[in-house]
């Protein structure tokens, strides 16, 4: 037996000159949802592909379900499932046919594959649509089928690579429930996401990844504690005020948003502190038009730890 469903130490991956993954360590016990959180191109998909044995690491070691992802690839593959960013379903087959086919490919005999398929259709509320072609399915149904197909071989470790990208809010809710139920049944779930609220809602532990390195790891609460308790958002009077204040603060802010003339600074939230800060930043009382205090979100943690990343940037590396 093994202690942890996923153990990775010092994973590196190089594509040509480019170091996409730079020493990633992860530990995920059975029955836990673990989120890998980061912008596009941060190395999330690369990490998942290495752990799912689809890509070999340039350095480091990893064990999944107790087996080495390089030397015991076959053993690993019999115990995992991967649901990627693109639904891996055949549009021209029915939901049931997709399920039975995958069951057969995982060496279930015909009868067992049919039985498992029926169970999965039941569990994911797809009985009514079972014998319709997948092309007629809604986005949410497709997603449920995709997960069901991933589970037909009874994996002990499930990788979900940005499973909710492009889903509507209601489907996302349903899928969050499904992921929680999955973990409750003892399966380890490693999920990657760009959505901070998703990691917050689902994951027992979160690792934040940026430029191929883990910048923080912990529960949502622990991570939030790493930055100050509150975020003071200042709305500036005009663009000049924005520029002057940006200079005055000199990198201590969590975020700058020039379009809305707002700057956010981490604070403890006490009246004394805020008053003093406002006086120091704006002695003439003309630059700052309004201020707001927010509770820290994971978003703020990420912004702080990664040095004020603006929006997630498009990167070619997300798809290799």
């Amino acid at each position: 037996m093994y202690d942890n469903a996923i153990e990775a130490a010092g994973l590196c991956r190089r594509f040509g000159e480019h170091l996409v993954l730079d020493g990633v360590d992860l530990v995920v016990p059975a029955g836990q949802v673990f989120a890998l959180l980061g912008p596009n191109g941060a190395g999330k998909t690369t990490t998942v592909r290495i752990l799912a044995t689809l890509l070999s690491p340039s350095g480091g070691r990893a064990r999944v379900a107790g087996f080495d992802v390089v030397h015991q690839r076959r053993e690993v593959r019999r115990r995992i499932s991967l649901t990627g960013q693109y639904a891996a379903l055949d549009e021209m087959q029915t939901g049931r046919e997709n399920l039975v086919m995958t069951g057969r490919l995982q060496r279930l005999d015909r009868r067992a594959a049919r039985r498992r398929a029926a169970e999965m259709l039941e569990r994911f509320d797809l009985v009514a649509a079972a014998d319709r072609r997948v092309r007629t399915y809604s986005g949410g149904m497709r997603w449920r089928l995709d997960i069901a197909v991933g589970l037909i071989g009874d994996p002990t470790v499930v990788f979900l690579d940005e499973p909710t990208t492009g889903l509507d809010p209601r489907s996302r809710q349903t899928m969050w429930e499904a992921i929680k139920a999955l973990a409750a049944s003892g399966v380890a779930v490693l999920l990657t996401t760009q959505y901070l609220e998703e990691a917050d809602a689902l994951a027992a532990r979160i690792a934040m990844i940026d430029h191929g390195r883990l910048v923080a790891e912990g529960s949502a609460r622990e991570l939030k504690r790493r930055v100050a308790g509150e975020r003071l958002e200042l709305e500036l009077a005009d663009a000049d005020a924005f520029d002057e204040l940006t200079r005055a603060i000199d990198g201590r802010a969590m975020r700058y948003e020039r379009s809305s003339l707002s700057i956010s600074i981490p604070v403890q939230g006490g009246a004394q502190e805020v008053r003093a800060l406002l006086d120091r930043l704006d002695p003439e009382r003309v630059r700052i038009a309004r201020f707001l205090l927010h509770e820290t979100s994971l978003d703020d943690v990420f912004m702080t730890l990664t040095g004020n990343h603006p929006q997630p940037s498009e990167s070619e590396l997300a798809h290799v």
């Binding site: 044995t53 593959r77 891996a88 057969r104 490919l105 060496r107």
Partner: protein
């Protein structure tokens, strides 16, 4: 073994449910034959009756069309998430490709059967003996396997299903400057050398000779050598391309 069967059934099912590939596999060959026999055939002078002449050509050209379907299917699986999902459950990539190739051969045999039935109805009466017919069919099957692997290689090479379709179309166009529809001697002199010696002509001439019982002077071995050469080359290319894509 059961994995291979599962993926063959899948590939066959997917293409036979896709309107585009059904038309390509079932309607297009018959239409093409009718068009050549009734519209163009009257103007083409051949040593044997035109319908007897053109049927092997139609079959070969349609193998090219079918290859397009195969290339697109392969490319679609590699571009989407299917290949990753299968590899992650320990199904080898080559088993997936093999499924498409075998389905391609079976689909083309179905097209062949339909073309032959219609051909017989419109007066296709070659005088070869059953052994000749069987030999012609064998030559066709070897060519079919070769082009199916070539299509698979194209599907792996292309970065998108659209690109795969485009490349496959270009390759299938090579069937026209050949003896498939018209005798090579009617073509411009500069083209004749190419047209007479390229694989489609070699295979078409061989099939024609076998079907009409005039196998003596047919380029049988050269036809088979071409097909085997294309098959081996395509499998090697597919394997090399596959290895390259997997590493990335």
């Amino acid at each position: 073994m059961s994995e291979a069967n599962t993926l063959i059934v899948r590939a066959l099912r997917l293409t036979l449910r896709d309107t585009d590939s059904v038309i390509t596999a079932l309607a297009l060959p018959v239409l093409l034959m009718l068009m050549f026999v009734y519209l163009f055939g009257g103007a083409i002078h051949t040593p044997i009756s035109y319908v007897d002449y053109v049927v092997p050509g139609v079959l070969l050209v349609c193998v090219g069309f079918g290859a397009g379907t195969t290339a697109v299917s392969v490319s679609r699986d590699l571009a989407g998430g299917m290949i990753d999902r299968l590899r992650a459950i320990d199904v080898r990539g080559v088993t997936l490709i093999n499924g498409h190739v075998v389905a391609s051969v079976l689909r083309n045999l179905l097209s062949t059967a339909i073309v032959l039935v219609v051909a017989l109805a419109i007066g296709f009466r070659p005088h070869g003996d059953p052994a000749g017919w069987l030999a012609a069919l064998a030559v066709l099957v070897v060519y079919l396997i070769a082009l199916s692997w070539l299509a698979a290689a194209v599907g792996i090479l292309a970065r998108s299903p659209e690109a795969a379709q485009g490349i496959a179309f270009l390759v299938s166009f090579l069937a026209y400057p050949s003896s498939a529809f018209v005798p090579v001697r009617t073509m411009p002199g500069t083209l004749q050398g190419f047209a007479a010696n390229q694989p489609v002509s070699q295979v078409a001439d061989t099939m024609r000779a076998l079907l009409t019982g005039a196998a003596g002077g047919a380029p049988t071995w050269s036809a088979i050598a071409w097909s085997l050469g294309i098959a081996v080359g395509s499998i090697a290319l597919a394997a090399a391309l596959f290895r390259r894509r997997r590493i990335q």
